[in-house]
């Protein structure tokens, strides 16, 4: 049986500690997402203007859908771009 000293890894296996991801809307009791607030919505959008997936942002399904609706409304009102490269 190989001991712990014999096993070598290329990268440290302790990297990437388990930070508990939470939905910020459920945690802080935010019930409504304003589509007019482009600064707030930019947190959920990547540098190309695309909506970030739930596994990255940590949102629950209910609030991820609301965020998506808000981002799409903001895009309609030209507060957020549909497609870009220079958002962040």
């Amino acid at each position: 049986m190989a001991s712990r000293d014999d096993i070598k890894f290329l990268s440290n296996p302790n990297i990437g500690g388990n930070e508990k991801k939470y939905c910020r809307f459920r945690k802080f009791g935010i019930r409504h997402i304003d589509y007019k607030d482009a600064d707030f919505l930019e947190q959920f959008v990547n540098a190309q203007g695309k909506i970030l997936p739930r596994r990255i942002t940590g949102n629950s399904l209910k609030y991820q859908k609301k965020v998506a609706v808000a981002v799409k409304r903001a895009r309609h009102l030209a507060m957020l771009p549909y497609v870009t490269d220079l958002l962040k």
């Binding site: 802080f28 009791g29 007019k36 895009r75 009102l77 030209a78 507060m79 957020l80």
Partner: protein
């Protein structure tokens, strides 16, 4: 009572008067239909994220109103569509959370997202601004107020305020004196006046130099 919000973008090449008359035209349209206007928000001239009708900026207006039926909505949208001065519009039906959000926003309870990476004295939308909506008190503004006038409080009513002063973190000289006072008052109840009076005199003496320093600064 159904609550609605209509946001529209007015052509910026028009004169200021024409832009205001367009928004007023829609306000009168809302009133004529028997709906009550809750709020008219002029978000002003903003850069568009992409060009609309070959324009790169526009004047944003947001009208929040409430009515019994939804009969006004098709009429208003038809008028907005026909109006050549309006580039885009969006009507939204607000639920109760949306109505409450707008009220809180008008009351100033909702903070904004920090753009710079500076340590926060302003409210962050994700933490304090939203948290303060649900909790009764807002600790950061209270802390600011206490920082601004801790000395005045202590000079005015030293005995009472020194009990609450330990909550103030930033005020360095009054805080140790306050911490000295509270254990004494709690541990020795029999000679409270004697113990407190000389300490009060000491703190008064201590606090006067800080006032001089702060006034100089």
């Amino acid at each position: 009572m159904k609550n609605y919000e209509v946001t529209f973008i007015v052509d910026p090449v028009l004169s200021n008067d024409e832009i205001e008359t367009t928004s007023k035209a829609y306000q009168t349209l809302v009133k004529d239909e028997g709906c009550s206007i809750v709020n008219v928000d002029r978000l002003g001239l903003k850069q568009l994220a992409y060009p609309i009708n070959k324009r790169s900026s526009g004047v944003y207006y947001c009208i929040e109103f409430s009515g019994d039926t939804g009969a006004i909505i098709p009429k208003m949208e038809l008028a907005l569509r026909r109006d050549e001065r309006i580039m885009r519009f969006l009507t939204v039906a607000l639920d109760k959370y949306g109505v409450k959000y707008n009220e809180d926003k008008r009351a100033g309870k909702i903070g904004t997202v920090k753009k710079d990476k500076k340590e926060d004295k302003k409210e962050d939308k994700n933490s304090r601004g939203r948290n303060s909506r649900n909790s009764a008190k807002t600790p950061p503004p209270a802390a600011k107020k206490e920082e601004a006038a801790p000395v005045k409080k202590e000079e005015a009513a030293p005995v009472k305020k020194e009990v609450s002063a330990p909550a103030v973190v930033a005020a360095s000289t009054p805080a140790p004196a306050a911490e000295v006072v509270t254990p004494e008052t709690s541990v020795t109840p029999t000679p409270p006046a004697e113990a407190v009076a000389p300490v009060v005199a000491a703190t008064a003496a201590v606090t006067t130099p800080p006032t001089a320093k702060s006034e100089e600064e």
